[in-house]
């Protein structure tokens, strides 16, 4: 029931999943509202069940207080996963509440100090066969963190990329204000030192802001505050570029013709930068997964997020992370 377009778009997204895959979906929320939406779209009831909950956490609510409400759909869903009635949660709701609900009901993986919210974003390919998406973490589960936590983010991000992106040895970069190892203050210098010596991590050094969208690193590690700003900046720039292009076409006929010629390229660019293509962002570090979708997610984005969640469960991402953490100790 979370998200700007809930429950309609969430239900529609799940309905699409039910028609195209064998993923078993449990919709958590007001049963009568969910059913009303379901009956208006094509769906396969064999793959959908509903877990009724009367309450929902608003996008602007204070997360710490909100997750105390046991009948809130997010809390009910997270509890269902914790109790083994489902394998992963997908939510487009309040990000803070998602993280706190996970922290409250999921067990943190052994050896992990803090969970991280990861996100995939489009980037330039440097060589053929390279994934067109990179992973950045943390983008909001933390504000500040220490060097040890940044190293753990690198371990978790590498494990996720190995499983989901099928990159055998993901290149890990540390987001910093310079490429030199002494840049960025005490925490980043220490994190750089540890990552360089860390076995099993393919550390490629510091990555600057302008290199984020290049193909140098498959996994970017940073504090939540910085990661969130960087991610939103990438999203904002791509949206503005698209708006400018559209506006240009309205001004002059010649530009419109030019844009018409470039339309396929522009559509490809738009598809590449469209967050709805990538599903959602996983919260890593717990025994179970929560895939956090954009608050504005519509059916298409929800559908992809559910697929990502199912893939992560089938590929045993939490177990991969746990193994990586154990091996690193």
């Amino acid at each position: 029931m979370g998200g700007d377009h809930a429950p309609d778009e969430v239900v529609k997204g799940v309905a699409q999943v039910s028609l195209a895959t064998d993923i078993e979906c449990v919709l958590v929320g007001d049963e009568s509202r969910i059913q009303a939406v379901l009956e208006g779209v094509s769906y396969n009831p064999e793959h959908i069940s509903i877990l009724h909950s009367r309450d929902a956490i608003g996008m602007a609510e204070e997360p710490r207080e909100a997750v105390k409400r046991r009948d809130a759909s997010l809390v009910v869903g997270v509890r269902a996963v914790a109790e083994g009635r489902a394998d992963a949660v997908v939510s487009a709701g309040n990000t803070g509440a998602c993280i706190l609900a996970c922290a409250k009901h999921f067990r943190v993986l052994r050896g992990i100090r803090r969970a991280a919210l990861a996100s995939v974003y489009p980037r330039q390919r440097e060589h053929p066969g390279q994934d067109s998406l990179a992973l950045i973490l943390d983008v909001g589960a933390t504000v500040r963190c220490d060097a040890e936590e940044l190293v753990q983010f690198a371990v978790m991000g590498s494990a996720y990329a190995r499983r989901i992106s099928k990159v055998s040895s993901p290149a890990v970069g540390l987001l910093n204000m310079g490429s030199e190892e002494m840049k960025g203050g005490e925490t980043l210098v220490e994190a750089h030192r540890r990552l360089r010596q860390f076995p099993g991590i393919n550390f490629v050094g510091n990555v600057e802001g302008n290199e984020l969208v290049r193909g140098r690193a498959d996994v970017i590690v940073c504090e939540g505050f910085v990661g969130n700003v960087a991610l939103k900046l990438i999203e904002g720039v791509s949206e503005v570029l698209y708006d400018i292009t559209s506006a240009a076409g309205e001004r002059r006929v010649a530009w419109r013709l030019g844009l018409r010629l470039l339309s396929r390229g522009i559509e490809r660019l738009r598809a590449l930068t469209d967050y709805t293509q990538y599903g959602g962002s996983p919260i890593l570090g717990f025994e179970h997964l929560l895939i956090k979708c954009h608050g504005r997610s519509e059916a298409h984005a929800i559908r992809n997020a559910v697929k990502v969640a199912a893939k992560a469960v089938r590929d045993r991402v939490p177990a991969e992370i746990a193994d990586a953490v154990t091996a690193s100790r």
């Binding site: 028609l19 059913q35 208006g40 769906y43 793959h47 959908i48």
Partner: protein, 360 residues
């Protein structure tokens, strides 16, 4: 297990009225493919052995007939198909292979329409099917009750609803003519249909119309057809509704569920979800679903209840749980449906279906 109160046993002097089950063929009994010209041709020349029936349908038809006969009433099974009679041999052999007992099958004389240059009639089935339904009715015992089975590819819900409303006396000849003209039925066929319609007895004989949602059409689309039309996503759902109506036994539902699990890859969870969907859509009350589910769980066909559902079941038994839909939808409708609204909605969809290769 008894699912509803037993009816008064029939006296020897007055046997129970026969049950007439009318089935569409393609997409209702058979998984025929005619989305493309190639699949249409393949279907036309397919051997009986290669034809695939919709999971659970053969067991459902057999169970309907057997249950009726076990209760001392005749059950007659008829197929009405808009396919040409040239494929009749393969269809009859397929029915034989599936062990389906049937009493008649009617095909549409497509070649005759081509010869007469009535090409529009090739794709227009409302007039043909209505005429065949009325003919079948005239030949059946006057007190026969009816169950109609179709799918969401053609206009089955419209055809069957028109038929049911005429039988019930809810729809007179004049409005029927207007409806048929509006959907551009051949005027000669309209006259034939009206003639047949005026001869059938005014008896509310159609109990339910089951629509197999093969295309996964949104169930809300069928709301205009009233509670008599039951859209179902699989034949387990159909069997459950028929069991609640007293037309099937619990053992039949179990058998159909088992066939779906053993032959079509269904799981206990998928059947559970199908049952819950019927409750949410109001075709089954929660207490009826609980009564039905308990023995099915005991056989392992449905999954065992979680602590949450066990708690809910206990509350249901104690009468403390009042789900939002504690009453099932009423079956009978007070009068004729709003065919103006139905046609306004159905016709654009029909045009779209025709454009995409489907049959309107």
């Amino acid at each position: 297990m008894r699912l509803r109160r037993a009816r008064t046993p029939p006296t020897p002097s007055r046997p129970a009225p026969p049950l007439l089950c009318r089935w569409d063929l393609d997409k209702t009994y058979l998984r025929s493919e005619f989305d493309t010209l190639r699949s249409l041709l393949r279907t036309a020349f397919e051997k009986a052995e290669d034809k695939i029936d919709v999971p659970g349908v053969a067991e459902l038809i057999k169970a309907l007939k057997a249950t009726a006969e076990r209760r001392g009433r005749t059950a007659l099974v008829y197929f009405v198909s808009a396919s040409p009679p040239q494929i009749g041999g393969a269809i009859r052999k397929k029915l034989e292979l599936d062990g389906i007992p049937y009493d008649g099958i009617v095909f549409k004389d497509q070649l005759g329409h081509i010869k007469r240059g009535k090409l529009r009639n090739l794709r227009e089935h409302v007039g043909f099917k209505l005429a065949e339904l009325f003919r079948g009715r005239l030949e059946a015992p006057p007190d026969a009750r009816e169950l109609l089975f179709g799918d969401d590819w053609e206009s089955d819900s419209l055809i069957y609803s028109l038929y049911a409303d005429i039988l019930a006396g809810h729809l007179a000849a004049a409005p029927l003519t207007a409806i048929l003209m509006r959907i551009r039925v051949d005027p000669l066929l309209v006259a034939e249909v009206i003639d047949l319609a005026t001869r059938v007895s005014g008896r509310d004989a159609v109990e339910r119309i089951f629509i197999n949602l093969e295309r996964r059409t949104p169930p809300a689309t069928f709301r205009l057809f009233g509670p008599r039309v039951v859209p179902t996503f699989n034949y387990f759902q159909t069997a459950v509704v028929l069991a609640v109506m007293g037309r099937l036994r619990l053992e039949d539902v179990t058998r159909i569920g088992t066939v779906l699990v053993e032959r079509s890859g269904y799981t206990a969870r998928r059947l559970d979800n199908s049952l819950d969907d019927l409750v949410r859509r109001g075709y089954l009350t929660l207490p009826a679903a609980e009564r039905l589910a308990a023995p099915l769980r005991a056989t392992g066909l449905l999954s065992l209840p979680t602590p949450r559902t066990r708690w809910r079941r206990m509350l249901v038994r104690l009468g403390r749980w009042r789900p939002r839909r504690s009453k099932a939808r009423p079956v009978t409708s007070a009068g004729a449906l709003d065919y103006d609204a139905i046609l306004a909605r159905v016709q654009p969809a029909a045009r779209h279906a025709a454009a995409s290769g489907g049959t309107p």
